[in-house]
């Protein structure tokens, strides 16, 4: 039990948070620094060493598993051969540098461009078909006034979010697959059966439907929160002024949701290159590579299955860099719209 000998006023440390200056972020930081600057670094360390010690395990894990691998991306510029050394990490130092050759190979590969195309098609479908559903569901749930009904409906809707992708894909297979319940019922009644799970044409809609089933219910949480913060007085005042329930919805409820919708939309665009890695990997065999390959699965196939590490790392690097640019741009747009984004300015 180390007790701090230097008194620390929590209230004082909190002040910058409580009175945010007009231009937040940087301002509060520098002020905090000045305030704390009254103590010497040694005293501050003495005071806060327990806190630092507490963060240590996490920091170590993050450094090892998130930061060191970033350096490992250098294999993208090498002809990396894991067998040069017994330890694959040491082999990085012994592999020959070849510059941008891997990237040239990638850009000439039609399979890569096909994966890019699939990525964007899936992203677009999810944006159009998936995105509005949580909003509609939230409006629906919000209009239910009976607390019991509300709670039960919410519990059911949140449920699939907690299922693994293996389970979700398997459940869909049991319903829509060739041996699934719909095809079987059709066959029993003398119609021809079908197999949606292996049809490359339908696959993209199937994948979107799976995402909706799994996560649309979970998506309503943030909208419900926005709705619950709307003051009832607004509705009452509008009703007094003669606004019916649809006008109240249009002029009060929807504007309340607007910032959340805008923010989530921006964030989704920033994450455009990530469209269901596990989900697609699980269905890769059933439906074929042409229909299911996206950037993430392309990297997985070339790197881990084909052991072409440098090539796959280069493809992953392309995805990472473009993805980072998208996220930063999306946040910039969020800031321009006056939203907080993922991080503050």
């Amino acid at each position: 039990m180390s007790h701090s000998t230097v008194p620390r006023s929590r209230a004082e440390a909190k002040t910058p948070e409580k009175n945010p200056a007009p231009s937040d972020g940087a301002g509060s930081g520098s002020r905090g620094g000045k305030r704390a600057g009254k103590l010497s670094l040694r005293l501050r360390f003495r005071r806060d060493r327990t806190l630092i010690l507490m963060t240590l395990p996490t920091v170590l894990l993050i450094l090892v598993f998130n930061y060191i691998p970033i350096l490992g991306n250098v294999v993208a510029f090498q002809d990396y051969d894991p067998y040069l050394s017994e330890n694959g990490f040491v082999a990085i130092f012994q592999s020959p540098w070849i510059g941008f050759e891997q990237f040239e190979r990638i850009f000439e590969d039609s399979a890569f461009w096909h994966a890019v195309q699939n990525t964007f098609v899936l992203f677009f479908l999810q944006l159009v078909l998936f995105f509005p559903i949580p909003i509609l569901l939230a409006l629906l749930i919000n209009s239910v006034v009976r607390p019991r009904v509300r709670a039960v409906a919410q519990a059911i809707m949140y449920l699939p979010h907690f299922f693994s992708w293996v389970l979700v894909v398997t459940v869909f297979m049991q319903i829509f697959g060739g041996a699934g319940i719909i095809a079987q019922t059709l066959r029993q009644h003398g119609y021809e059966g079908f197999d949606l799970m292996t049809d490359p044409e339908i696959f993209k809609y199937l994948v979107t439907a799976e995402s909706i089933w799994k996560d649309a219910g979970w998506g309503i949480i943030v909208f419900l929160a926005a709705l619950s913060s709307v003051s009832n007085d607004l509705y009452e005042a509008a009703a007094m002024d003669g606004a019916g329930r649809w006008r109240r919805m249009w002029h009060i409820t929807l504007p309340a949701l607007r910032p959340v919708i805008a923010l989530l939309l921006v964030l989704r665009v920033g994450d455009a290159l990530t469209v269901g890695f596990e989900q697609l990997l699980l269905q890769r065999q059933a439906v074929g590579v042409d229909a299911s390959d996206v950037l993430d699965t392309y990297v997985w196939w070339n790197g881990i299955r084909n052991q072409d590490f440098s090539y796959a790392a280069a493809a992953g690097l392309i995805k990472g860099v473009v993805g980072l640019a998208l996220v930063l741009t999306a946040n910039k747009v969020a800031h321009l719209m006056g939203e907080q984004g993922v991080y503050k300015k």
Partner: protein, 317 residues
């Protein structure tokens, strides 16, 4: 406005006594809902719930049927005709699925405990604004939310660390979620500073404050985050698929892929499955139920805290 609404609330005719499922009293300004509107709402809500529950119903029901009922139905059963636990008895009686279930339970318990310990400590360590290194550490964590290292370098690192074919490979690489730490942190920061100051004056150190004051006050958010971590470990299959080669070490999700998706036969079952007493479909469904049950049972208990958890998670830099 209708004539009914012009009267004060207590003079309006009461339709029925308010029960647990009844609607709370309507504010006087609000219109009574139309029959069509109510029906439409009910239909929409009913359809959403049906779409979620029906597949689960089929899976659970089919896993409980005898081979005869399943054969008659031609595969999946919607209306149960017989109840038998043969499939479960078979799966849990030994063999591949039992091992996998134990592995999954073990990894989930150990992993969740580890992740929670590390995350709670880190969140508390970062909850004091203005402490030494606070900003730097926070930045280090936040940055990882924007870019990942990529699959290949991570894979090479795990290999180089010698974690392949160990259970550590299933836990360590994804042990901490920065998002979860931020949720915990902002919750801890919301605890009244006066309370913590008074504990400090009474001579409590940071460890004791965390254990005796902060954690008991944050039970709700701790439960939510623990559930998030546990679900993560329980549902994970990808790490096992690339880092493990030993079939006996595979967790339940991976075995489920083999049994249900690739239509392989479970290893280590008794001869029953061959003599035709046991339907392979029932076996598959039983494995799926085993995978979904813990999550389906746990999450409703934590449900009422989700909103709070998700909202305090709004990132503050």
């Amino acid at each position: 406005m209708s004539a009914v609404l012009d009267k004060p609330a207590d003079e309006r005719p009461t339709v029925r006594k308010p029960g647990r499922w009844a609607a709370p009293p309507r504010p006087t300004w609000e219109e009574e809902p139309s029959k069509a509107g109510l029906a439409g709402k009910g239909l929409a809500l009913g359809f959403a719930c049906f779409a979620i529950l029906f597949p689960l119903w089929i899976v659970i029901v089919t896993s409980l049927q005898t081979k005869k009922t399943i054969d008659e139905a031609g595969g999946l059963v919607v209306i149960p005709k017989s109840i038998t636990f043969v499939a479960y008895r078979e799966l849990l009686g030994g063999g591949q699925v039992q091992t996998a279930a134990l592995v999954s339970v073990g990894v989930t318990l150990v992993g969740t405990l580890f992740s929670m310990t590390v995350s709670v400590l880190c969140a508390y360590g970062l909850s004091r604004v203005g402490s030494l290194g606070h900003r730097w550490i926070l930045m280090t964590l936040l940055a990882t939310m924007f870019f990942g290292a990529g699959l290949i370098p991570t894979y090479l690192l795990v290999q180089a660390l010698g974690l392949t074919d160990t259970y550590l490979a299933l836990i360590l690489p994804s042990a901490v979620s920065v998002f979860n730490i931020l949720v915990l942190r902002s919750f801890f920061m919301g605890i009244s500073p006066e309370l913590i100051d008074s504990a400090r004056i009474d001579g409590a150190g940071d460890w004791r404050i965390l254990w005796k004051i902060v954690m008991p006050l944050s039970r709700a958010v701790l439960a939510v985050i623990a559930l998030f971590y546990a679900v993560g470990y329980w549902s994970a299959w990808f790490n096992a698929s690339i880092y493990l080669t030993d079939q006996d070490m595979m967790p339940l999700q991976n075995v489920m892929i083999q049994l249900v998706q690739k239509q392989e036969r479970p290893v280590g079952l008794s001869a029953q499955i061959n003599t035709g007493q046991l339907s392979p479909i029932a076996i598959q469904m039983a494995v799926m139920v085993m995978a979904l049950l813990p999550v389906a049972v746990l999450s409703p208990f934590v449900q009422k805290h989700f909103k709070k958890g998700m909202l305090t998670g709004a990132v503050k830099g």
